[in-house]
Structure formats: structure tokens, C-alpha cells
Subunit: 156 residues, 2 copies
Amino acid sequence: MKAEFINPFLAAAKNVLETMAQTKVNAGKPLLKEEPVTYGEITGIIGMASDKIEGTMVISFEKSCILKIVGNMLYEPPKSEIDDEIVDAVGELTNMICGGAKAELAKLNQKFDLATPTMVVGTGVAITVFSDAPTLIIPFDTENGKFVIEANLMEK
Amino acid sequence: MKAEFINPFLAAAKNVLETMAQTKVNAGKPLLKEEPVTYGEITGIIGMASDKIEGTMVISFEKSCILKIVGNMLYEPPKSEIDDEIVDAVGELTNMICGGAKAELAKLNQKFDLATPTMVVGTGVAITVFSDAPTLIIPFDTENGKFVIEANLMEK
């Protein structure tokens, strides 16, 4: 994946979380994914596909981070555990962030449709993307913990 | 998802595993997914997308089952642990099975492109699809253990 294609994901994550969840987000320097990495307790995965492009975006949250984000989205105090409502919110955030990136990438002539998000709950989960194209990782910090986005986009 | 759309996934799984991995596969009765389910030690996830359709296919294997399948694919004795080669093989099987289903579904006027497969390794992992459409589960048995396919396909 070309480095210029990572910025739309970064911008969309900041935009969605700041407007939908009043959550200030600091993005670290994007890095190349070298091996399967174990991330947070809850992960959203969404496919991108067209006749010219295939890709996947993964977003994975530490528990404290997602509980606070969803609390903010609902104008409620954060819950103490990941439940169906949290899982659902991760699906919605995955859709919105990748949808935001999609709109920007279309302007760079990278056009694709989005598949259905899938959410994975569990600790000690290692995720690998099956692609010859490099996967880029953006680490993010919030006041209540970290999350990461991985993106992989390949012209066929 | 309409019940008739499940058969292409069932047929593709049988066909790919019988021809590529000399593995006899018995399919159980498809059932509706009612809640997040925890499956096997290794799971492949692949998105399906077009301007008219969105979906996801999930395939999850018990460890003993995938180790034997990959051993058969490579004409080698089964390994004892899940390693990079096994993870890669799950990506390839995910691609091939969903690719087989895609060809059949196109004949039913369900046309879409495939996203990049993602593989999740870990025990005690619960997977949820973020969709208003029902998700169908096909349980499979092999001589060396079980696997399941989940499919969700929705016209936009």
C-alpha cells in the first residue's frame, strides 16, 4: 500500500472520534506491519473491494479506551465491561471510519465498496492480513488508552 | 441472507477441501446465528462488496482439523502447532472457498468482489457480524475435527 493512502484512514479516525465521541485523538507515526501483532480486547475488521482494488482495515481498541469512547457516544458514564452494546458500537465506528477514508480515497482514484464489518472480542488475539501488499499500522493515543488502525490496500 | 445463498458456500468448502486437501467433509444442517459464538483456534474472515451487495464470510477451524488439512495440502505429516505456514494456508483456503462461492452466486445474480482475507489466531474468541441481515452457520465435520462457515450477504 502506498504511504499516501494511509492519511485518509488517520484523518477519518480523528474526525469520527472527535465529532461522534468527543474524544481527543493523537496519532503516532505510521509504521510497517512486520509480523502478526496482538492488540486490544476488541477489534473491528472491514473489507474493501472493487474490480480494481482489494483491501482490509482493522481497528483494535484497549478495553479502557473503547469503554470511554462508547460512554461519550451515548452521553453516559463508561461501562465496566465489553457487552453487546460496545460490540455494536465498534461495528458502527469501523463502518464510519472506513466510510470516511473511502470518500477521501475516491478522490485519489482509489474507488471501492465496503463489506460488512466483523467484530472480534478476545484477549491475546493475533491478526494477520493475507496480502502481498504491505500493511501499515497507525498507533493512536487517547486520554483513556490506545487503539490502532491497520490498513492494507492493493491494486489488483 | 436468503437460505438459497448458503449452498454455494457449502459446495465450495466441500470442493476446495476435497480436491486441495484430500479431506472428506460432512456438512451439518445450516442454522441461524443467534448470538456471538466462540469457535476454533484459527479463523479466516473475508469481505464481499459491490455497489449492490455487502457481506462477510467467516471460516473457523479446530486446531486438530486445520493441522491435518494443511498437512494434506502439503503432502506432509500434520504439524503440532499453528505457525505462519498454517495461518497463510487459512488465508488461501478462505480466498478459494469464498471465490468458489462467488462464482456460483454470480449465476444467482449476486455479484460482488472479494476483499483481502484476515486471519485471527486465538482461543476464546467471539465473533459478531455487524449487519441487519441474518447470518447463517454451516457446521462441518472431518475425520480430524470440526470447522464452521458463517455467511452473511445483504442487498443494500
